[in-house]
């Protein structure tokens, strides 16, 4: 749904929609934390008990995990494994792919259950899919980052040098 080469951009209104859905899911699934991670390993949104969690690492490892299982799926002739579940002693992780390109991560403990999480994730996925399809549509309309709106159009060598000082 996204071309391999265009940049992925998100705007306030889109983030708000996403956050509304994930916060609702957090409550409905009685989960501890919820993350949305792009398949390339970038954190899009996080909610719940996220303090003390290294969310950058979490995003990168989640994407690595989905990429690996995706590779395995192809090997046996499947498109992808759209749901994964890892059970721990206290906390468990539920991973699912939304709109073919983002990963919905739900962390939960004994206050919830796999059945409840599954059910609620299904519903939230449908809403999220709609949001990400709208984003894809908006990006198509815009084409690649339009020159005038591109915040980096005016970037200078000095800007870049300053980053490393």
């Amino acid at each position: 749904m996204y071309s391999a080469q265009s940049n992925f951009e998100l705007y306030d209104a889109e983030m708000n929609k996403i956050n509304t859905i994930t916060s609702h899911l957090l409550k409905a699934a009685q989960a501890k934390a919820i993350f949305l991670v792009d398949k390339n390993g970038l954190m899009i949104s996080s909610t719940g008990e996220v303090a003390g969690l290294d969310i950058t690492s979490l995003a990168s490892l989640t994407a690595g995990n989905i990429a690996t299982t995706g590779g395995l799926a192809k090997l046996i002739g499947e498109k992808e494994f759209s749901i994964q579940f890892h059970e721990g002693e206290n906390d468990s992780i539920h991973l699912s792919i939304v709109a073919g390109r983002v990963i919905l991560v739900v962390i939960f403990d004994a206050n919830s259950s796999l059945g409840l999480v599954r059910l609620r994730v299904k519903r939230a996925s449908a809403s999220l899919t709609q949001v990400f399809e709208d984003i894809a549509h908006r990006q198509e309309q815009q084409g690649a980052t339009s020159y005038s709106a591109n915040p980096f159009a005016e970037i200078t060598d000095d800007d870049i040098d300053n980053l490393f000082n």
Binding site: Y2, A4, Q5, S6, N7, F8, E9, L10, Y11, D12, E14, M15, N16, D38, K39, N40, G41, L42, I44, D54, T56, S57, S60, L61, G64, A67, T68, G70, G71, A144, T145, S146, Y147, N150, P151, F152, A153, E154, I155, D157, D159, I160, N162, L163, F164
Partner: protein
């Protein structure tokens, strides 16, 4: 494929260090990690074998500062260089914004360098990327060793299109930040063009 988040005013870019086994990719990231201020770096993750060969990837997130009001984050990845990990290498290239090729300058590794560079082209091609058309820099590593190929030979076989190139000794850090700065610059300049 950079990720520009206008809501949080952040830009994320993915840089991949590629090259044959034992050329020094992980060592590059370790040096960057050691020399970067704590507030500018996240945890470095290494998914490695017991003998410290990269098994899946190394990952180092850097938050370097702001450009034009946007927080700029670079996510550095290495691939596993050993030939038989090709499936993993392919996965890691997904969504890459810039590539650093770390060559092992030792004479006896010339063939391995050439093979790995061809493998990079093939794997990028499978994702629909073209190495000649994206941010790319070359690093000639292990310059401290006695048995290295002469520069003109390294250039001839590994860098015919003359992308920015750096001599390095990743173990002591020579050339490491020059290489990183060069690829970061190319990636940001690429954004200026508004995506490929």
């Amino acid at each position: 494929m950079s990720f520009i988040n206008h809501a949080s005013r952040e830009i994320n870019c993915k840089i991949v260090y590629y090259g044959p086994g034992l050329c020094g990719k992980t060592t590059n990231l370790q040096y960057v990690y050691q020399k970067t201020a704590p507030e500018s770096k996240g945890k470095m993750i290494s998914l490695a074998t017991e003998s410290e060969r990269t098994l899946f990837f190394d990952f180092l997130p850097l938050a370097l500062g702001e450009v034009r009001g946007f927080k700029t984050r670079f996510h550095l990845y290495t691939v596993p260089g050993q030939v038989f990990y090709d499936a993993s290498r392919k996965l890691i290239l997904k969504g890459v914004d810039g590539v650093v090729f770390v060559a092992d300058s030792q004479e006896e590794r010339m063939d391995a360098n050439i093979e790995s560079l061809e493998n990079l082209r093939d794997n990028l091609d499978e994702h629909g990327y073209d190495l000649d058309n994206m941010p790319f820099v070359m690093q000639y590593n292990k310059q401290d060793l006695p048995n290295i190929s002469p520069m003109d030979e390294l250039q001839k076989y590994l860098n015919p299109h003359k992308v920015p190139e750096y001599r390095a000794c990743a173990m002591t850090g020579v050339g490491v930040f020059e290489t990183l700065k060069a690829i970061a610059r190319l990636v940001l300049l690429d954004l200026k063009k508004g995506g490929r």
